[in-house]
Symmetry: C2
Subunit: 375 residues, 2 copies
């Protein structure tokens, strides 16, 4: 067992969350898993089992490629208990649940803790830091990754396979001035973390903003009538790829206005999956893991109901401050609003929720660097 064992709370009960809990436990840490009541089934199964049967297919995971019964993962009766006991809180719940999870646990937050959102949408760290500050923990360190660290697959009620692990994982820290501190405090268990300039850059470092909602809108009739069906490469046809390219062009205008490095969705997929191609349409169809997957089962799926309020809405809000026009991002949010009969502009992560209202570009940059105290 390493000398500096840490107590982790992993909030979430998906296969990816349990994969991360297993690896942290294999590394000798105290690991407490918890989830909101409505989503606890997987944790109840784990609590009743002698351990988590992990079939690890990935050499780079702690312990390497092997099958192990991982024992000693604690299942907390509720999220607040797990959060109260832990030094590092890893959120692998849907981004849309952050506010509810923290509202139920506000009294458990402390300034010495770290919250790591895996991943955290566009600016989730800002939302969470505001809630922590209101709960009396203004110096709690909040970070977010650009993707999930590990990919798990359920193999039974208390069994899973770890199928993938990110070899490097971009992370943004809020405030960015504490980036080095975060890297040091997590160095033992997360050596793969690679720092972005700030949490907004991390929020733009994934391809989900283009890959998830647009193919759902442009497959909507079929998803609603026949879903799930085979969704090869997200069912992206050349015209869908052109719409995604148009969103990507808006994303790059925002990145440029932020002074962040310019990437394309193609760049992100090429780097993440080691594939190649001359266009986004070619690249997306070159990713082996996107072949013969299933379409969303229905139109409420998280590709719209989570990604629109936590990625597209804040992207547009930032663009407005920066003077960047985003007709295609706007169009996508408005289609989702009409499809779902709601107003994601209001319920999503707008400037008020992220604590950025009233700031200009320079004010946002200062806040990202130094925290809400800089206002």
């Amino acid at each position: 067992m390493p000398s500096a064992a840490t107590t982790y709370a992993v909030i979430g009960a998906t296969e990816h969350a349990l994969a991360l809990a297993a690896e942290l436990r294999l590394a000798g840490n105290r690991v407490i898993v918890a989830e909101q009541a409505a989503r606890r089934a997987a944790l109840d199964a784990l609590a009743a089992a002698p351990g988590l049967d992990v079939d690890c297919q990935v050499e780079s995971v702690v312990g390497g490629r092997q099958r192990r019964l991982v024992t000693g993962i604690e299942v907390a009766p509720d999220v607040a208990t797990a959060i109260g006991a832990a030094q590092v809180l890893i959120f692998m719940t849907p981004q849309t649940t952050y506010e509810d999870v923290l509202a139920a646990s506000a009294g458990s937050l402390r300034n010495d803790q770290i919250i790591l959102l895996c991943p955290g949408g566009l600016g989730g760290a800002l939302l969470v830091a505001r809630i922590a500050a209101k709960a009396g923990a203004p110096d709690l360190l909040v970070a977010q990754t650009s993707a999930m660290p590990l990919g798990g697959r359920n193999a039974g009620p208390a069994a899973l396979r770890i199928a993938s692990k990110k070899k490097f994982l971009p992370v943004g820290v809020f405030p960015a001035s504490r980036t080095q501190e975060l890297l040091e405090r997590l160095a033992e268990d997360f050596p793969q973390l690679t720092a972005n300039a700030d949490v907004i850059e991390t929020g733009f470092a994934g391809a989900a903003m283009g890959l998830h909602p647009i193919p759902m809108i442009m497959n909507a009739a079929r998803i609603e009538a026949d879903g799930p069906y085979v969704y090869d490469g997200y069912a992206i046809t050349p015209s869908i790829a052109r719409v995604i390219d148009a969103v990507d062009a808006e994303r790059r205008l925002i990145l440029k206005a932020l002074g962040a490095p310019l990437t394309t969705f193609s760049d992100i997929l090429k780097q993440s999956y080691g594939v190649d191609g001359d266009s986004f349409h070619e690249v997306v169809h070159a990713v082996p893991g996107y072949r013969q997957v299933k379409s969303p089962p229905d139109l409420r799926y998280r590709y719209l109901s989570e990604d629109v309020p936590t990625q597209l809405v804040p992207a547009v809000a930032l663009a407005r401050v920066l003077g960047v026009a985003t007709p295609m991002l706007d169009a996508t949010v408005n289609y989702a609003n009409a499809m779902h009969g709601c107003d994601y502009w209001r319920s999503g992560w707008n400037l008020e929720k992220l604590g950025l209202d009233g700031l200009d570009a320079a004010g946002i940059a200062a806040l990202l660097a130094r925290g809400f105290g800089a206002r």
Copy 2:
């Protein structure tokens, strides 16, 4: 033969255009059909045949339900020749071709002529009146209907069935002050015309603005991969119906700001087809003629490439002047732009093309009533 036989030029070679030409000829008029070179095939077949073999299924058509060989329909060598010889010019070409057709025929336009656009998009009469004025015919009377007067079906190279005829047909006249004059001049051959207040009201009197583009966007992946396929009720699922309802709500806000009667797409379908239902989703699936039709064969189909530039773009342009927000209409145009890789805001019927730029709501109302001379 009636005493006041008229010379009609029917521009267009679709089955609907030939059905109208046949009825006008059966009523004893001189009828000249013409089409642009690229679309002439149907007219060449007619010119080579002894006549147009018309199987009329509709009692209310001139001559009633019968099969007739309609002889004496003249096929003009080009559009300008037909236009030069006629008193009434009926345009049944795509709305996007008006500018090209008139550019090739500008020298043939005269102040004593009538142009009837069947149908004319949103404001097609304004566009056409401007072109006529520039060509030296500022007093040429321009009108537009809300739909095609007759529905024909090809039954052979020079044969067709007339399957339907509108028993009443809304018409808008530009300028509206000449509405009575138009009704009188066309009373003999078009007794079914019913006057709207102006051409903009007529432009909003159809359901195509909601029915055509949105289901194409929300079926895009399948149309591009598999089209044409069975497109029952435009493949409108409940979520697609919600998006169309959102566009309809914007359309009603525009109508309200114009002081025009408020209708819904459901009202229009109920009145047009004698169907019923508690929601747009129910009503659209109650229309017998929408059952088991074919989807667009590809994503360039006129439901986007014609309806977006000639209906949605001018609707948004008018809404801007009236201070009405139209996020769903904007979204639909922007999706079409990205899908087609073009800019319909610029190429479509914007305020400049309609001659409405620089006017406020009162100025537009005055212009619709009294013509461009009122500026």
